[in-house]
Each structure stands twice: as structure tokens, then as C-alpha cells.
């Protein structure tokens, strides 16, 4: 149906008594892989998204669970019209919003990973610092632009799929990614300036 254009992430529930849409729905839902398979293939994707969508680090794992449980329980309502990742993104976004609201906290991206850096690994330390810089910068921009950048530049998703995830048109997706990059570059420059001032 929407194959030509950018399809919506979630198809609305099949209209009552509409055999065409029901048949379509059933056919597409059958094509949705089992949860175990989806988990195997997309667990990390969902985990990363959950963090980037502002879910507190302490409850990221719970949120990820919720995403897959919802996906399983409501699989009959979901029709994958495009990419499975777009479907997952839609669910993750909703779950993440709930967690954010529950936490009732200022948006805070994933904290430093749990395992402490190994001793004497300068390279690893530098990498963590660099990651922290970007994470802070991401935390400073609004979700629309942040997620456009996350999907396109961090996840490496093709732009049409990004647009599908965000339920926006392709041009809007491009423009969001561009604006996000500019904002991030400015934030990083500010960070460097501050660091430079601190350690002359």
C-alpha cells in the first residue's frame, strides 16, 4: 500500500469489518518474525535507542524488556509496512516516553557504562571521554533532531528508513540531520573551548 512512499511506522488497527485491510494485516503480521528472533537481531539497537531516548540508565534494561513484551503481545495489531526497525523504533519511543515520565526527571542520557575502564588503557579512556562529549552534546538538543542524528549518523540507517522511523518525509529527515550536526558541532566547539580554558 505505502510501498511507493514513506510508510507509517505503525499501521492503524485494521478497520472493523474491512476484509481487505484485515487480510493485509494478517499477511503482514505473519511476516513479522518471532520475538526471539527479533530480540536476537535487534536487541542492541533497541538498547541503544532506549538510552538515547532519555530513559535513565538504571531502567534501560526494564524498558528494553517492555519493548519486546509489547511487541509480542500486540503483534497482531502491528503490521510491518516497511522496515522492522521502524516498527521497533515506534514501540521503543512510546515505551521510553513512559519511562521518562515515570522517572519525572530531567532528560539524562545513558551514563557511563557499568564496567570501569581497564587499568592503563589510555586509548579506552580517551574513547570514553570522546563518547561522553558527544553524549552531552546530544543531551543538549531536542529529541526530534537528536533522534534524526542518532538514526542516521550513529546507527547508520539509510535516510528513507530514518524518515520512516520518525514518521516524517525524506526532506524533513535530511534537514533535521543537517541541523542536528550543526548544533552538535557548536556544542562540541563550546566543550573544547571550556576544556581549553580549564587547562591552558
Amino acid at each position: 500500500m505505502h510501498h511507493g512512499s514513506i510508510p507509517p511506522v505503525l499501521a492503524p488497527p485494521a478497520a472493523l469489518g474491512d476484509p481487505a485491510s484485515r487480510a493485509h494485516d494478517g499477511q503482514q503480521t505473519a511476516a513479522l518474525p518471532a520475538v526471539a528472533e527479533l530480540f536476537r537481531d535487534h536487541y542492541e539497537f533497541v538498547w541503544r535507542l532506549t538510552g538515547r531516548l532519555g530513559v535513565p540508565a538504571a531502567v534501560v534494561d526494564d524498558a528494553v524488556q517492555d519493548v519486546f513484551v509489547v511487541l509480542h503481545q500486540r503483534r497482531h495489531e502491528f503490521a510491518v509496512r516497511g522496515s522492522v526497525r521502524a516498527l521497533l523504533y515506534g514501540i521503543t519511543r512510546r515505551v521510553a516516553r513512559r519511562y521518562r515520565e515515570r522517572a519525572a526527571r530531567h532528560v539524562e542520557l545513558v551514563d557511563d557504562p557499568r564496567e570501569p575502564a581497564g587499568p592503563g588503557l589510555d586509548e579506552e579512556l580517551a574513547r570514553r571521554q570522546a563518547a561522553a562529549v558527544l553524549r552531552d552534546a546530544l543531551a543538549g538538543i531536542d529529541e526530534d533532531k537528536r533522534m534524526a542524528f542518532v538514526l542516521a549518523d550513529i546507527e547508520g540507517m539509510p535516510m528513507p528508513e530514518v524518515a520512516e522511523c520518525l514518521e516524517i518525509n525524506l526532506n524533513t529527515a535530511y534537514s533535521r540531520v543537517r541541523v542536528a550536526r550543526q548544533l552538535l558541532q557548536r556544542a562540541i566547539a563550546r566543550h573544547h573551548a571550556r576544556a581549553h580554558r580549564r587547562t591552558p
Binding site: V64, Q73, V110, R127, D153, I154
Partner: protein
């Protein structure tokens, strides 16, 4: 399409990708938790869906049936209206339909105006049971109420005529009830004779009982506002019953060999329903009629024009056969 990341941003993104990774332990524990939850609650939504589908189907069927019934009733009413139109000339009918309810009121009023003087007993049923009058008021005037219903655009005429007068002339309704005979009113209203009796009494009310008067007139009022919409029963371009009837009339004349009538009817149809559903059929029939009337040149002109304008028509072949013998 989109420019590559600048070096600084690419370095940071690479670092973030490296760092932000769930551990294997987290993955295992998350899956274990999901598995447990799925086992504990085996898709409750699905059972709900299973139950709700038949219900939904039932509801849909019900709605469909209701809609179908309404549509059928509407169609019937429409057809009745069209037949009524057929009996008279199409222009005169809407005008004839409108005043009828008013005249009915006037006559009933005049009837009652004489009745109190003639027989004072007539007041007693009205005064004895005002409730019955109130209750009857809407029911005792079935014709106006039928007129008032926007769906039954012109169906009143075929129904009211047979009931009110065998002659079928619209005026007969107004004249048929002579002052002293309530039977004529009884005839004009549906079977229930006890209900028809209060009919004369409401007009008696202006003097006798006030409540019934106001009740009677509101019952009639809607008839007038509804009448303008009655002129054009259905604007739906798909299938207008009067259009079908008009064309059928022409076809009947053609089949009966009344070619002059058929020609007139076809021309009238063409004027009234310009570009209508039967335009092609109309042109074919018209050419046929012209040919039968011996107006061969006109028939050939019509045929030529048709074949030029509508070469792909499914009636083109039929059109080609018209007046062919004469060539």
C-alpha cells in the same frame, strides 16, 4: 545526498558506538526476563481480539442491515414518488404536492368549524380526553407526517390518492370531505377508526380546548419546510429514480410504436437530464424514433454525430445499424 560527517564528529560518533554497547550479561538477563514475562502472560490481547472479532462482525452486520433497510425504504419511497410524477406532467407535480397539506388543514378546519354548530357533542370527545388528542395528534395526521419526512419526497401522492379518492385528482382530497361527513376523513386516514375520530376534534379545539390546537398545527408545520427539498429528491448523480422513470417512459413509447411520443419524451429527457446516465441510450433511441418516423436525414445526422463523438461507445454498433436499410 547528505554530506559525510566532519572528522571531529566522525571520531566522536565512532567512540560512542564503541562505548555504548550492552554487555552479554545484560543481554542474557534481559532475554530471561522477557521470556518469563511472555510465559506468565501468554498474549492476553490475542484472546481479547478473538472474542471481539465476532462481536465486531455482528455489529457491522447489524449496521449494514439497518442501512440496507433504510436504503430500501428510501428507494421504495422514491419510486413511488416517481410513479406519481409520471401520472402528471413533471412540472405541475411539485406545485400540486405542496398546497395539499395546507388544504387538508383548511378543510379539516372548515369541517370542524361547522361541526360545533351542527353537533355540540363533538366537543365532548375533545374535552373528555385531551390526552388522547395529544397522543393522537401526531398519529392522526399520517399524510402530513409522511409528507414531512424528507426521505419520502413525493410518495405522498400515490398513497394519499388511493385512500382519499378513487378519482385520483389532487383537488379531490380538498373537496372530498363534505362538511357533515366525517367518513371521508376516516377514509383519508389509515385504518384505525378510533384514531380518525379525533381528527375533526383538534380544529374544534380553538374554542373548546386550547392544547390540542397548538398540537395540531406543529404536526402540520414540518410539511411546508420539507416541501422545497421534495422537489429534488436525490441529487446523487449516480441513479436518480425520476431519470430512470423518464427514460423508461420514452422507451415504452418507442416499444409501443408511438414514435412521436417517444421522440418528445426523449427530447424532454435530454433537456431535463442533460448529460445524464442514459445519454447514449437516449441518442440511440432518438435516432431509432427518427428513422421510424421517416426522418431519415435527421436519423443519419444523429447517427453520424453519435459515432463521431462517441466512437468507443458500447452502443456504437447498434447505432450503426439504425436506418441502415435505407442507405
Amino acid at each position: 545526498m547528505i554530506e559525510p560527517l566532519d572528522d571531529e564528529l566522525r571520531r566522536l560518533v565512532g567512540a560512542l558506538r564503541e562505548v555504548d554497547r550492552p554487555g552479554d550479561a545484560a543481554r542474557a538477563s534481559t532475554w530471561a526476563a522477557i521470556d518469563a514475562r511472555l510465559a506468565a502472560a501468554p498474549t492476553p490481547r490475542r484472546t481479547a481480539a478473538r472474542v471481539s472479532w465476532p462481536l465486531a462482525a455482528l455489529a457491522a452486520a447489524l449496521v449494514l442491515a439497518l442501512g440496507l433497510a433504510a436504503a430500501t425504504a428510501w428507494r421504495e419511497a422514491e419510486r413511488a414518488g416517481v410513479e406519481a410524477v409520471d401520472q402528471h406532467s413533471p412540472d405541475s407535480t411539485p406545485r400540486a404536492v405542496e398546497p395539499r397539506p395546507l388544504r387538508a388543514v383548511e378543510t379539516s378546519r372548515s369541517v370542524t368549524g361547522e361541526r360545533p354548530g351542527e353537533s355540540p357533542q363533538s366537543e365532548s370527545p375533545g374535552a373528555a380526553s385531551p390526552e388522547s388528542i395529544q397522543a393522537d395528534a401526531p398519529e392522526s395526521l399520517p399524510h402530513p407526517s409522511q409528507l414531512a419526512s424528507p426521505e419520502s419526497s413525493q410518495p405522498d401522492s400515490p398513497e394519499s390518492h388511493p385512500h382519499s379518492s378513487p378519482t385520483g385528482s389532487p383537488e379531490s382530497l380538498a373537496h372530498s370531505p363534505p362538511p357533515g361527513s366525517p367518513e371521508s376523513l376516516v377514509h383519508s386516514s389509515p385504518p384505525g377508526s378510533p384514531k380518525s375520530r379525533p381528527d375533526p376534534s383538534p380544529p374544534a379545539s380553538p374554542e373548546a380546548s386550547d392544547p390540542s390546537g397548538p398540537h395540531a398545527s406543529p404536526g402540520l408545520e414540518p410539511a411546508r419546510p420539507a416541501s422545497p427539498s421534495r422537489r429534488r429528491p436525490a441529487d446523487s448523480p449516480s441513479l436518480r429514480p425520476e431519470e430512470v422513470a423518464s427514460f423508461q417512459r420514452a422507451q415504452a413509447a418507442l416499444a409501443a410504436g408511438r414514435y412521436d411520443d417517444a421522440l418528445d419524451a426523449l427530447d424532454a429527457h435530454g433537456r431535463r437530464f442533460a448529460g445524464g446516465l442514459f445519454e447514449e441510450e437516449r441518442q440511440v433511441s432518438r435516432a431509432t424514433a427518427l428513422c421510424k418516423l421517416g426522418r431519415v436525414d435527421a436519423a443519419r445526422d444523429a447517427r453520424r454525430r453519435f459515432l463521431r463523438e462517441r466512437p468507443g461507445s458500447h452502443l456504437a454498433e447498434r447505432m450503426r445499424q439504425i436506418c441502415r436499410d435505407d442507405e
